[in-house]
Symmetry: C2
Subunit: 192 residues, 2 copies
């Protein structure tokens, strides 16, 4: 079983990705139409699905790339040691995650790898988020009666909860940041 990847394959894929990025740039993720992408890329519709399993797979790549960049940005800063600083450091990440309802839903849907053999770009980002927070917590003034990895998982859970509520009219009295701060203070503060 041999598998030669032709040059044009890479070219076509690049064209599709570029075209898709352009389309997103114009109207956001939610409004992206496969038809529009293939037209902009100058290929047939079937070609799209020869390169990406479905529309979601393309979205995973586009959104994953962006999210990965946000995570890099967060990681580049000085490791935060307090709850407000942690929230501040994660701000670009959370901001992007909440930028569109569509984006948030897709992120949640693909946050876990469906199969071990194939970790998608978004599941990878969630792992990265986890690792970054864990590293921070290792050197922050937080409760020590619980393992750091568990604390980091909790931060992720609370961040998602706070983001969920952000899209919820019922709880719009409190801002995302304030809510997350309340959560994390209760979760991370050292036992009195």
């Amino acid at each position: 079983m041999q598998k030669t990847i032709q040059q044009r394959t890479l070219k076509t894929r690049a064209k599709l990705l570029q075209a898709a990025a352009d389309v997103v740039q114009k109207n956001g993720y939610q409004a992206l139409r496969v038809e529009e992408v293939v037209q902009a890329a100058g290929v047939a519709k079937g070609t799209f699905f020869a390169h990406f399993h479905d529309k979601d797979a393309l979205m995973e790549i586009l959104i994953g790339e962006k999210l990965d960049a946000c995570l890099d940005q967060a990681q580049a800063a000085e490791p935060p040691k307090t709850v407000p600083k942690i929230i501040e450091a994660l701000a670009p990440v959370h901001e992007f995650m909440m930028s569109e309802r569509y984006v948030f839903d897709l992120l949640i849907r693909y946050s876990g790898a469906a199969a071990i053999s194939e970790i998608g770009p978004i599941a990878y980002c969630f792992e990265k988020y986890f690792r970054i927070v864990m590293m921070w917590l290792d050197q922050a003034e937080v409760r020590q009666d619980v393992p750091t990895d568990l604390l980091a998982e909790g931060v992720q859970a609370f961040a998602i909860q706070a983001m969920s509520l952000k899209f919820c009219a019922l709880h719009s009295a409190t801002t995302f940041t304030d809510r997350l701060e309340t959560y994390l203070r209760a979760w991370l503060s050292p036992a009195a």
Copy 2:
């Protein structure tokens, strides 16, 4: 502005809901096709959309009803006072929420009311979940340094996190119950 609802409206709606429930019974939620429902109900496709804004709206009703019943079941039992008992009491609820990937995704998507004026069945259930847990926690041996409503929100957040990971091949080593127990012990235990 008067609005007379005709008798047949109620009848047609009931027929559609019954037909939909039957279809779900046979093949689950994920596989439900609007076409199949209207055929089983003996009405035209347009009629369906005169009664429900879209397919999701029907799903919200069907899934919301079922979830509400599960919550009633949980509430009927003796108020649990320990973490394992709480998890046990919530078991039927979580079981249903995880019964299908499709169900879980839809629940998350509609967990927050999009508009204050119109709280959907699922958002209502999430509120109910929150209220039940809060009542339990008021009389349980849990940490007292944090308001009960915040504790209850946390339980919800951790439950969702644990369910998410249940669908994730990467974290399938631990069972849902074990994971949730770990989370809740760390979150609810009184400060040492």
